[in-house]
């Protein structure tokens, strides 16, 4: 099995990150924004794994961080969804445009 | 005698006030505090005179210095001379009268008297400070409570006025602070240390270019407090929206902080720059005097009339300072005292009228002499004092300023003096117009017939201020003896010959 070059994998994670970033900045639906956020987190995860595998094959810190991030992402998703649900209960709406209470 | 008592006593009074709620208790404490303060001031006066008579010619008596923040060279240094002592006496008179006229302040009385007492602490602290930082500190204490006094207990467009006053005075403080920092960094007391000490700075030679840079900052900063044209616009709005006691305090004491600062800090510490900028000061002061007087003629609200006339009268203070000679500066100090007492009395009279008739518009008033003879008489007397009638303090102060101003022989100074003299005619016009319509003439409103005359507290406030005015007016030599040695002392610095 020929090795996939490092650059390809980094391109994938970069693409994934920017797709996520784009989605996060442009989508108005908070669920969609959350999903975009997950994409960015996953691109970071890929980076960790790839660098671990290609640069320091003898260690597993990268994998550890990845698992850590997945756990945090799950917790974060739980909190975010809780906020979104509460927002929905109050405003019947989960559009990020309307949620500018931070200003006041 | 410990000068700290002058600051501690009002602060203790203010704290005491916070423990009580009822108007009756609160006002009694405030009255006792203000009365105590007056007693201390009078004692201070007698001790001071004894010291001077005993041959103590130190520039500052009762000197005392306590370390406050030594790394920056800040100390709580206090001391007084005749000029600051006369200011302290003025403050004591005005504060006591202010408490007396606010006798029926039902609304949030505890907070009102607390703030009023706190203000007085700021004023006393300012006048006794011999350290530029503490001086600034007390200047600030004397600003903030005014914002609340006007904003909460005021009338008319009170929020607007309170905001305007606070912002403009804060801007003034900012200028002052820059000026003070400039002075601070130009001093050197060894190992790169600087000092805020007033006496040390007065003895050091500050380079001319530093002075030229920082004199305008300090002068304009204090000038804003003292209604320097064109930064005087807080005066009419602020005074007219404020409750009576606050108006009295503002015009009687607060504007004097400015005049005193212009003289003591800006001019005295940076005399060479003062000589350079003197023509501009005189120009602005003359404009303020004559233009303030004309603007007053067009006002229809009694408080606005008095506020604009304050702009005109405070112009005399700045004119006297700008003339930079002994007579004129003595006149400026006298004018500060005289204007403080007189305008406080005037505001007190207007406040009493407003409290009864619920209007201050000249057009809606008339024939009050028939209804409330005492208040009307006080109104007319303060008007006559304002237009410089001999026998009252205003005459003494204005004439001293004029005599001093006339000593300059250049055409520019002469014209400035003549124009300033001309303002006394304009003053007569607006005072008589106001008095002629509201106090004399036929009764404007039948309902006013049922109104009562002054109560005991109002009478005693008026008599208190009036006694000060009349004593200065009839025996000006006392005040002159008190201040003139120290004005002489100031002249040692200010009169330094300047070589351009």
């Amino acid at each position: 099995m020929s090795e996939i070059p490092l650059e390809h994998l980094l391109m994938l994670s970069t693409a994934l990150f920017f797709i996520g970033a784009y989605g996060f900045l442009t989508r108005r639906n908070m669920i969609a924004m959350l999903m975009s956020l997950e994409l960015m987190l996953n691109s970071v995860n890929i980076n960790f794994i790839v660098f671990n595998k290609y640069l320091f094959p003898d260690t597993i810190e990268g994998l550890g961080f990845t698992i850590f991030i997945i756990a945090i992402a799950a917790a974060e998703a739980a909190v975010a969804i809780a906020i979104i649900i509460n927002l929905y209960r109050n405003t019947k709406n989960i559009d990020a445009e309307n949620a500018d209470h931070l200003k006041h | 005698m410990n000068l700290h008592l002058l600051v501690i006593a009002p602060i203790v009074t203010a704290v005491f006030i916070l423990f009580f709620k009822e108007l009756r208790q609160v006002r009694m404490i405030a009255l006792l505090g203000a009365g105590f303060q007056l007693i201390i001031s009078v004692l201070l006066l007698s001790t001071f005179c004894n010291e001077r008579a005993a041959g103590n010619t130190a520039p500052m008596l009762f000197y005392n210095s306590v370390e406050w923040f030594s790394p920056l060279g800040i100390a709580f240094t206090t001391g007084i001379d005749g000029i600051s002592l006369s200011m302290i006496l003025l403050s004591a008179f005005v504060v006591l009268a202010g408490v007396l006229v606010s006798w029926k302040m039902e609304k949030m009385s505890r907070e009102f008297f607390f703030l009023l007492t706190l203000l007085s602490a700021g004023a006393y602290g300012f006048f006794i400070s011999l350290d530029l930082f503490t001086l600034f500190f007390f200047l600030e204490i004397a600003v903030i409570p005014k914002f609340m006094l006007i904003g909460i207990w005021g009338s008319g467009r009170k929020e607007y006025s309170a905001m305007k006053l606070a912002l403009m005075l804060m801007a003034g403080s900012a200028f002052v602070f820059l000026g003070l920092l400039g002075l601070y960094f130009s001093t050197n007391v060894g190992n790169g240390q600087h000092t805020f000490d007033f006496i040390a700075i007065s003895r050091s030679a500050i380079p001319l270019d530093t002075q030229l840079l920082f004199f305008p900052l300090a002068f304009i900063g204090f000038g804003i407090f003292g209604a320097l044209f064109p930064f005087h616009t807080w005066v009419p709005d602020g005074h007219s929206s404020a409750p009576t006691a606050a108006s009295m305090f503002l015009a009687g004491i607060s504007m004097k902080l400015g005049g005193y600062g212009c003289l003591r800090v800006a001019t005295y510490l940076m005399p060479e720059a003062a000589h350079v900028y003197a023509p501009y000061i005189i120009l602005l002061a003359t404009i303020a005097i004559i233009y303030g007087a004309f603007a007053t003629m067009m006002q229809t609200d009694l408080k606005y009339i008095n506020a604009y006339s304050s702009v005109s009268h405070c112009g005399f203070v700045l004119l006297g300072i700008g003339m930079l000679n002994e007579t004129a500066i003595a006149g400026a100090v006298m004018q500060m005292i005289s204007h403080g007492l007189m305008t406080a009395l005037f505001f007190a009279a207007i406040g009493m009228i407003y409290e009864r008739t619920h209007t201050r518009m000249v057009a809606q008033l008339g024939g009050l002499l028939k209804v409330m003879p005492f208040i009307s008489t006080i109104f007319i007397i303060s008007g006559l004092c304002s237009l410089g009638l001999p026998g009252f303090s205003g005459f003494v102060a204005e004439m001293t300023v004029f005599m001093g101003s006339w000593q300059h022989t250049e055409m520019f100074y002469r014209i400035a003096t003549i124009l300033s003299c001309a303002s006394i005619v304009v003053t007569a016009v607006y005072i008589l117009r106001a008095a002629g319509k509201s106090i004399m003439g036929p009764l404007a409103n039948e309902q006013h017939l049922s109104l009562g005359d002054a109560t005991w507290n109002e009478k005693s406030a008026a008599v208190l201020l009036l006694s000060g005015i009349v004593v200065i007016g009839i025996a000006p030599f006392w005040l002159n003896e008190l201040i003139s040695p120290d004005v002489n002392g100031l002249m040692v610095n200010i009169g330094r010959t300047f070589i351009p």
Binding site: L25, A96 | M297, L389, T400, M403, G404, V425, L432
Partner: protein
């Protein structure tokens, strides 16, 4: 009692009565106040007469020196320049002490009847006392600033008394006008004081006069060399001081306040606006007379012309007025004009000083007959309840004493021998005849007009038509109480006898007695003119006829102009209303509200606008913040990379 104590008492008694009545009068002393005021004045008057007797008759020196009886430094301005309070005793101040206290006493007594039952009786007496105190302080002044201070105080007492009936808008307006016009004149006075004080380095009269009259003194040299707009500093100083005097003495063109001042109670007009305060200007010029005469004849010429013009001008107006008090007011102005130009034509010392003596003499006699005229007019007004001539006529039967005393005063003012006015006027005319023929003829013409209008007044009040019966129905007080009649009688004695005083032996320009020979030849022409003036008035006004109307119709233009006081008031109104108010005061207020305050508010709005701009970045939207976050992250990364490379 020493001289100082006596004069201090003379001055301080009215002050004491003012304070007593002013503070406690209203509540506690209402009924007593008249007696308190009158008693204190009585003591003052007796002491003044005693002082005059001592000064003039127990004097052995042969000449009358200026004595400074008492002096204290009141306020020091700088080395040598100070306001001093003190007592200067010299012939004119002693004469004025007598005039002021005697006339004031008469008015005090008269007012007991005239003001009886008035609500503010105590206030009235306290104001009268205040005025008397200020006037006395003025005449004994040792220092030019002292005179200025009391000058202002008499001004304010005059304001208070004119506005005494404060509920009448016209009285309030008149009091304001009087105060403001004189205040404007006082501005000149003040600047004049500043100039003279600066040049002479002193404010004391004695030193001031000495320094500015000694030829070649450094002060005089600097004062005459410093010049501005073509006149020397000394000329400016004296002219400006004279402006103050002209304002107080109602000289043309600063006279406009005097006729209106008649709104005050009539006894007040007699005291302030006839006998005492209005002659303060004459007194001031007389006080500074050596400087005027020796060092600055140019300024004295201005005094002369002002006096002559005022005398003629006021006499012309007086012929047309119908309010009896206004006629008297204009006649006062005219007579003061006489005093002024008498000073103007005078020289200093010996025979040349005839005009000075004549002026002071006229001031003295005028005080009696003019006060008498006003008090008589007061009695008429008290009886008729009107100031207008048309409501009067035929009163000679119902008011016999008033009628006789009024006639005496009219004869005196017209200059008929042997009444007081004849002698003083004759001296003035002689002085003018020596000095300036032009002035002499104008003065002669004025004397004729004076006789005419005074008798026009007299006939209109006491003769002319028959008295209306309506007034007899409510004739409950008759001619007035005895307190009103006695002053009339006493003053008429003065109006008859004052002329026989050999005035020159007491009052002269340099203090040395001056013997004035009486020349019968010089007196013939003025008397003829006065008599013909009276004859003309008799022809026109003694009985009701249509001759006056015909006369006024044929000279309609002049008559109307004079009736409207030559439109001087209108000119002033134009200047104050149209120019001062509309072109100075209103723009000032507008500029302040809109431009100065506007720029301050504009500054505030600018800050608000800017902060709104910045505020919009903080939209509160998560995505905006995230965008800034990303952009910033990129920016920082790019910067780091750039810096590292």
């Amino acid at each position: 009692m020493s001289l100082a104590t006596t004069i201090q008492l003379i001055v301080l008694l009215p002050l004491g009565s003012f304070l007593l009545l002013g503070i406690f009068g209203r509540k506690y002393l209402s009924s007593l106040s008249g007696m308190i005021g009158t008693t204190s004045l009585l003591v003052s008057a007796i002491l003044s007469i005693q002082t005059a007797y001592q000064y003039f008759f127990l004097n052995t020196a042969g000449s009358f020196e200026k004595i400074i009886a008492w002096k204290m430094t009141w306020l020091t301005f700088s080395e040598g320049v100070s306001i001093d309070m003190g007592i200067l005793v010299d012939p004119i101040s002693v004469m004025m002490l007598v005039v002021v206290t005697v006339v004031s006493l008469m008015v005090h007594v008269y007012s007991l009847g005239y003001m009886k039952g008035d609500e503010r009786f105590a206030t009235y007496y306290s104001f009268l006392s205040l005025f008397t105190f200020s006037m006395l302080g003025l005449v004994i002044a040792v220092n030019i600033f002292q005179i200025y201070m009391f000058w202002e105080l008499v001004g304010v007492s005059s304001f208070l008394l004119i506005g005494y009936y404060f509920e009448k808008p016209s009285a309030v307006a008149a009091s304001k006008k009087a105060f403001i016009v004189t205040r404007f004149a006082d501005l000149g006075f003040l600047i004049g004081i500043l100039i003279l004080g600066f040049e002479a380095k002193t404010l004391d009269f004695v030193t001031l006069i000495e320094r500015l009259t000694t030829s070649n003194s450094p002060y005089l040299v600097s004062a005459t060399t410093a010049s501005f707009l073509g006149a020397s500093a000394l000329t400016w100083g004296l002219l400006l001081v004279f402006m103050g005097g002209a304002g107080k003495s109602a000289m043309f063109p600063l006279h406009i306040w005097l006729p209106d001042a008649m709104e005050g109670p009539t006894p007040v007009s007699a005291l302030i606006h006839a006998a005492t305060m209005v002659v303060a200007g004459v007194f001031l010029v007389a006080r500074l007379f050596p400087i005027f005469s020796i060092s600055c004849p140019g300024a004295l010429e201005v005094v002369m012309w002002t006096g002559v013009i005022s005398a003629l001008f006021a006499a012309l107006i007086a012929c047309t007025q119908t309010d009896i008090k206004r006629v008297l007011a204009y006649s006062t102005m005219s007579q003061i004009g006489y005093m002024m130009f008498a000073l103007g034509v005078s020289g200093y010392g010996n025979e040349a000083g005839l005009g000075f003596t004549a002026s002071m003499f006229h001031l003295f006699t005028h005080a009696f007959f003019k006060a008498l005229l006003f008090l008589g007019a007061g009695a008429v007004i008290h009886y008729i309840h009107s100031n207008e001539m048309k409501d009067m006529g035929g009163l000679r039967k119902s008011m016999p004493i008033t009628h006789i005393t009024f006639l005496i005063a009219c004869l005196a003012i017209a200059g008929i021998p042997p009444f007081a006015g004849f002698f003083s006027k004759e001296e003035i005319l002689t002085a003018a005849h020596h000095a300036n023929p032009m002035v002499y003829y104008i003065a002669l013409l004025t004397a004729g007009i004076t006789a005419f209008y005074m008798f026009r007044l007299y006939y209109n009040i006491f003769w002319s038509k028959e008295a209306k019966t309506a007034h007899h129905d409510d004739d409950h007080h008759g001619e007035g109480t005895w307190s009103m009649k006695i002053p009339l009688l006493i003053l008429s004695v003065g109006a008859i006898a004052a002329g026989f005083i050999p005035f020159g032996s007491f009052v002269s320009s340099d203090g040395h007695p001056l013997h004035i020979p009486f020349e019968i030849s010089a007196a013939i022409l003025p008397v003829i003119i006065a008599v013909s003036g009276i004859a003309l008035a008799t022809l026109f006004y003694k009985t009701e006829n249509d001759r006056p109307d015909k006369l006024s119709a044929s000279f309609q233009g002049i008559y109307k102009t004079a009736y409207h006081k030559f439109y001087i008031d209108e000119i002033y109104l134009f200047i104050t209303k149209k120019i001062v108010f509309n072109l100075i005061a209103q723009p000032s207020a507008w500029v302040d509200k809109n431009i100065i305050d506007g720029s301050m508010n504009g500054l505030a709005s600018l800050v608000v606008w800017k902060s709104n701009l910045i505020k919009s970045i903080q939209s509160g939207k998560v995505q905006d913040y995230a965008l800034y976050f990303f952009l910033a992250a990129f920016g920082i990364t790019a910067l780091t990379i750039y810096l590292v490379n």
